[in-house]
């Protein structure tokens, strides 16, 4: 049994504590926006925020998240439903192609902009190199991060609303 705050809501999950957070989120908390891509912390598709930090949920056991705060892609928008500046930039720049990697990309980008409201290219490289996009949307991801940073720095810097 693990108790978590997920997207601002208290949740309990009664499963094997060794189960990776990813599968607890997808199959037990029924939040399928967080994706499975590799299972070995190589692709970033499963990125969520745990206590504010981006983590690869496929490689974090549920026990390590017990008592923690988790934010998934479903919790990035404001409670009023307003998109996060990063999400809006993703639409404005038309970033996603197949879209499968994009939950993880957005979670990494939100964390980056919270820590570095005006990231350099090197900052973007470092924060985003853990997220593979097989559709190759890297140029647009970079442009969208910069767009989000310049538009509403205060909002982007605020990070996720629940994390």
């Amino acid at each position: 049994m693990a108790t978590l705050t997920v997207n601002g809501e208290a949740r309990t999950v009664d499963v094997d504590p060794q189960m990776p957070l990813l599968w607890a989120i997808r199959e037990h908390l029924k939040l399928p926006g967080t994706k499975f891509g590799c299972g070995i912390a190589q692709c970033g598709a499963c990125t969520v925020h745990l206590n504010g930090a981006p983590v690869r949920a496929c490689s974090v056991p549920l026990s390590a998240a017990d008592g923690g705060e988790v934010t998934t892609i479903e919790g990035v928008a404001g409670q009023d439903g307003a998109l996060h500046a990063v999400q809006q930039a993703w639409i404005d720049v038309q970033v996603p192609q197949c879209g499968y990697c994009q939950s993880g990309q957005i979670m990494s980008a939100v964390a980056l902009l919270r820590d570095k409201p005006n990231p350099t290219d090197a900052d973007i490289d470092a924060a985003m190199r853990g997220n593979i996009c097989r559709c190759g949307a890297y140029g647009r991801i970079r442009a969208a991060i910069k767009a989000a940073a310049s538009q509403t720095p205060s909002r982007a810097a605020g990070g996720s609303n629940h994390g």
Binding site: V15, D16, M19, P20, W23, R26, E27, H28, K30, L31, P32, G33, T34, K35, F36, G37, C38, G39, I40, Q42, C43, A45, T72, I73, E74, V76, A77, L83, Q87, W90, I91, Q94, V95, P96, Q97, C98, G99, Y100, C101, Q102, S103, I106, I124, D125, A126, M128, R129, G130, N131, I132, C133, R134, C135, G136, A137, Y138, G139, R140, I141, R142
Partner: protein, 734 residues
Amino acid sequence: MGKWTRRGLIAAGVLTGGAFAVGVGIREGHRAPRLAGMVAGEGETLVNVWVKLAQDNTITAIVPHSEMGQGVFTAMAQMLAEEMDADWEHVTFEQAPAHEAYANYPLGKGYLLGDIRVPGLVADSLNGGMLRVAQNMSLQITGGSTAVRFTGQTGMRVAGAAAREMLVRAAAREWGAPAAEIRTEKSHLFHDASGRTAPYATFAAAAGAMSPPVQPRLKSREQYALMGQSAKRLDIPAKVDGSAVFAIDVDLPDMAYAAVAGPPVFGARVTRLDDAAAKAMPGVREVINEGDFVAVVADGYWRAEQAIAALDIAWTQTGRETLGQDAIYAQFRTDMARAVETGQEQRDVRSGDARGAAAAASQRVEAEYSVPYLAHAAMEPINAVAHVKDGKVDLWIGHQNPLGARDAIAKALGYDRHAITVHTCFLGGGFGRKSEADYPIMAVRIAQRFNHPVKMIWSREQDIRQDFYRPATTARVIAGLSEDNMPVSWDYQFVHKNDPVEATHIPYAIENQFIHFAETENPIRFGPWRSVDHTQHGFFIESFIDELAHAAQQDPVAFRRTLLVDKPRHIAVLDAVAEMSGWGRPMPDQRGLGVALVESFGTIVAEIVEVDASGAVPRVVNVWAAADAGFVVNPDGFTAQIESAVIYGLTAALYGNISVENGAVVQSNFHDYPMLRMDDAPAIAVRIINSDANFGGGGEPGTPPAAPALANAIFAAKGQRIRALPLAGGGRLA
């Protein structure tokens, strides 16, 4: 539009609920592309598209293609809306069900059309040719960059134009005005003389009672208002908040989860299975030995995968247990040499006397190239959800060919195809892998042992090791140069002729050509991989042309230009990309520019790569691409496709290597099958040239030039000729 009237049919009617529907059935002519092995044979293809006009004036394009990131729903909707003069703000899309409504008249009738009459000629071919139609349509669904070229041009636009004409006629009758005086704009009808106006929906019922026009008039290029505009992709909002539903996200009551283990050596079968440890795990429901694979069904996917890891499986010997990658290449070489020695070359193109001309040439240039197997590695691993109950199958899947998958299941497992319903989801990447029927069949084989739904997910390791790979291939090229440094002969030999047939042909005017291949066994299963045979032949041909240019001491762009006789479109993209890149400018040490030019799927793409070759692994700094696809419906979407295709091609050139040792695929996940990432992704600039030639494809044509442009850039940077890929990892770049 040429021939569609003789090959197409338009039907219209009113649906339950009062929506007006227009459908177009298309029979494509002989120019439709054909991928051997996926298509039953020569034949015509039928694709039906539909438009619905609802009572609230919303227009829905029903698209018989799968959305795997290429923006197909949006481009199709744009083409429909253009001809219909629709209000883009109120245009939406639906994935066409994998259903005979989209290939076969009788069910289509029941599904959508009520009792509309269809000309007998067409009805016959729809009924009689059903199987072949389904197989052919399968191909057409999403592959070969066909959506805009065929479905859009001959389906969506015609349906939209027909719908508009019928609405105009209905309004004309009601208003007592000549149809010619009625204009349409933003899903409304206007009769300016009388000041009347009405939304389309007002006349839905009246239009539905009319007979459809035989030949609706399509707009000319100057009249386009939506086509050619970068409309925002309709599928993107759902892809930024986690709400887009991929098959892996489908959640059904009482669903169980399956993990699988396939044979390490293709074709092997289970001889012994020790599942005691797996079965002892909590949550494991069943271990299934299917002979050609083993599955564990459990309460959750993680547990199922753990149980798979705890299995002890012994497999039969196939005779390939000692096969290695070097032996595969050696076999290619042996078979190619034998074909030449024995005169058993399989002819592809022959004009003049290539060997005689080479013997008489003042300079002879010769090279051997090879490329390895490649996995697709779509971001969403292979998966499917199946529910079998009372002899009926429901399948949720991301597939490039849903109808073909359905028919393959019916055939393999003995179901009536009408007992199978395929629910198509978004694809988290496809690239050709998701046109295969293996995984839908596996999912149903597992699920038919239960009365609850089962979600089968492949681990990334299974996804990489149980792929249908881009085939490893070798080519040998011999060319002769005349005294004035012009190529006089082209002798090009390769292994494995697949599709498209023209992938091995060259656009260059070389008088004596012999293009031929050797029969050889490919021991590893293969399938279409983004741009199919163009990936390997684009690399071979465009690298060797570069070698020839240097042997002739000519500039690679100028050399190609000279050889592009009567090819103004090729020359235009080449000139454009040269201009974009500042071709010819002085470069710092270890930096170089390389060019490549490939036409595929009706689109001509030239790319120039700027490389920094100073490190152990070359770094691609910039890529410029110019593309002529005739006319581009959605420029930003097309640009994104070229960007994507460039990254896909560069990833393969730099890192892509699936190798076989002891008969099995060595690589397993992204640590040993690496991908290009953010920090090594180049800046990419794309220029679109609308030449008004026939519409070309968008998803694939950007891939083939990427690898040769990179290899040619490395030669420019450091004088090292790359004749085998990948550049990194294989230790091939000294």
